[in-house]
């Protein structure tokens, strides 16, 4: 889709010179259309006018989404669900560094912010800083490159190799329609924060983190229960100081907590997930249950729907989060059957789906992903649809604005 800002020039004599604006950056997508019209009637305005229409596909159309997550870049389930909403599978760039963290699909490019580490693993060990510390990251480069991609300019982005712990030679990233920056510090730097059209923070509570890490890392040699616990504890001070405060800037926070339906559950299989949505965000209308703005508590299992233990419990209501007005939608429990999922979907409003059952369809498409049977998968899918809606609204408003300029 092309955006065409229209420039009109007026000159006093009948011949016009058409000059191309020198400050624009030329990319391969730029096309210049020159429309020249002279009016014979030299009336009150006194002269001919000529129009230069510059059409540039992809220019300033890139929507930038920030995702703060501790789980590692680009391979997370959230990313796969998000890119799947737009269609197509996201894959690492073909023919490039096999340890690249970048994922590219038709509509989206996912960039891992670990690539902006200023210190590699040995450097961090020498200085005694973790990857969470801002001193280990080059925020200036991050800002410049995200700004460039947002304006339609391709960049050479460094690669942080997670296997070797070194900074590899850069790879070329072309500006996509949707750019997702995923990592530990998407909202840390104020300049980068201002470039984001939408931001999400994935907040996993310590108990759930511990339970997941046990499942994941116990199979690995060298790990024990104590070492896993110690590794989470050791990172906690840096995490609380640098990463956690980003929560307040996020437009949506997905909070993952242990369930309240099973007393003393420490397996982390049944989860209580809260979707905290900021009010008043442009192009984003929060999801609600039954009645927007009221407080609702809902257990769908009953006469129409039979659920197995521990069942499902929903709640919705307004709240304040770090001094801001938010709406919170919460789900505790898990889905066991398809009809539970469709039943729940039919009672939620403002989902930004294109057809009835789209959320269920997306969840089923990735039934093998972790979290497909609980609130994590559900809310990640819903956020994905919200982002699609946001993208369409932004794109529509950007094409509408220049059209108004031609009428004026």
């Amino acid at each position: 889709m092309a955006v065409c800002p229209v420039y009109t020039t007026q000159s006093l004599n009948s011949t016009c010179s058409i000059s191309t604006p020198s400050k624009t950056h030329f990319s391969s997508h730029h096309n210049h259309l020159v429309f020249y019209r002279t009016s014979k009637r030299t009336s009150k305005r006194g002269g001919s006018s000529s129009c230069v229409i510059t059409c540039s596909a992809g220019d300033s159309q890139t929507v930038v989404i920030g995702l703060a997550a501790d789980s590692g870049c680009g391979k997370s389930t959230f990313m796969r669900r998000l890119t799947s909403v737009f269609g197509g599978a996201a894959e690492p760039p073909k023919g490039g560094n096999p340890d690249s963290n970048t994922l590219i699909s038709d509509m989206t490019t996912v960039i891992c912010l670990d690539d902006y580490h200023s210190l590699d693993r040995t450097g961090r060990k020498e200085k005694g800083v973790t990857a969470l510390d801002p001193r280990a990251n080059d925020f200036d480069l991050m800002y410049e490159q995200v700004k460039a991609l947002k304006s339609g300019i391709a960049v050479d982005k460094p690669i942080y190799n997670h296997v070797s712990g070194l900074l590899d030679p850069p790879e070329l990233i072309k500006p996509p329609k949707i750019l997702v920056i995923e990592g530990l510090h998407p909202m840390f730097d104020e300049r980068v924060r201002d470039l984001l059209d939408f931001s999400i923070y994935l907040d996993i509570s310590n108990e759930v983190k511990f339970a997941w890490k046990i499942q994941r890392d116990m199979a690995e040699r060298g790990h024990s229960l104590e070492s896993i616990k110690a590794s989470i504890e050791a990172r906690k001070p840096d995490f609380d100081a640098f990463i956690d405060p980003q929560k307040q800037y996020a437009d949506a926070v997905i909070e993952v907590l242990p369930t309240q339906l099973i007393p003393d559950d420490n397996e982390g299989k049944v989860l209580r997930v809260r979707l905290i949505m900021k009010e008043g965000v442009e192009h984003f209308s929060p999801v609600y249950l039954f009645d927007e703005g009221s407080t609702i508590s809902w257990i769908p299992c009953g006469r129409k729907l039979t659920c197995s233990y521990p069942g499902i419990k929903f709640s919705y209501g307004p709240d304040t989060y770090f001094g801001r007005e938010v709406s919170v939608l919460e789900m505790d429990g898990q889905f066991d059957r398809l009809d539970e999922l469709i039943y729940v979907e039919s009672h939620l409003s403002n989902l930004s789906t294109k057809f009835y059952g789209e959320v269920t369809q997306q969840m089923l498409k990735h039934a093998d992903f972790p979290g497909s049977n609980n609130g994590t998968g559900l809310f990640q899918t819903i956020v994905g649809l919200k982002i699609r809606d946001l993208y369409e609204q932004i794109t529509a408003s950007k094409t509408a604005a220049p059209l108004q300029a031609t009428k004026a």
């Binding site: 391979k75 096999p98 340890d99 693993r121 961090r124 994941r216 060298g222 070492s227």
Partner: protein, 111 residues
């Protein structure tokens, strides 16, 4: 002509790295458990564990045929035919009026 592609690190070496990093933590944290060195060592353990688990997942979904066909869709092993061409091929059999071929046609139409 074969295109040489860079090879990914084998998962075994990552596992060894994880083991090594956990050992290094003992050294770094023996002096002072809250020092920068100790915390950085634990961060390294975390990073390597994450890399190891990603490598395990990647290994799990690696179907060699799928990987080959992604890059070489036109080779014989990877050709796929849409239903239209199957029907075209099969109708030529059906013209002979043999009941057997009619069944074959039905089978192909259903896929």
């Amino acid at each position: 002509m074969q295109v040489m592609k860079p090879v990914r690190a084998a998962p075994d070496s990552i596992s060894e790295k994880v083991e090594k990093s956990v050992k290094e933590v003992q050294e770094a944290c023996s002096d002072d458990p809250v020092s920068g060195e100790c915390v950085a060592a634990w961060d390294e353990v975390k990073e390597l564990s994450a890399a190891a688990s990603h490598a395990r997942d990647k290994k799990k979904d690696n179907d060699p045929l799928e990987n080959y066909c992604k890059d070489n869709p036109k080779t014989d092993e990877c050709r796929t035919y849409d239903n239209g061409s199957i029907i075209y091929i099969m109708t030529s059999f059906f013209v002979f009026g043999d009941e057997k071929f009619g069944v074959v046609l039905k089978l192909f139409l259903s896929c």
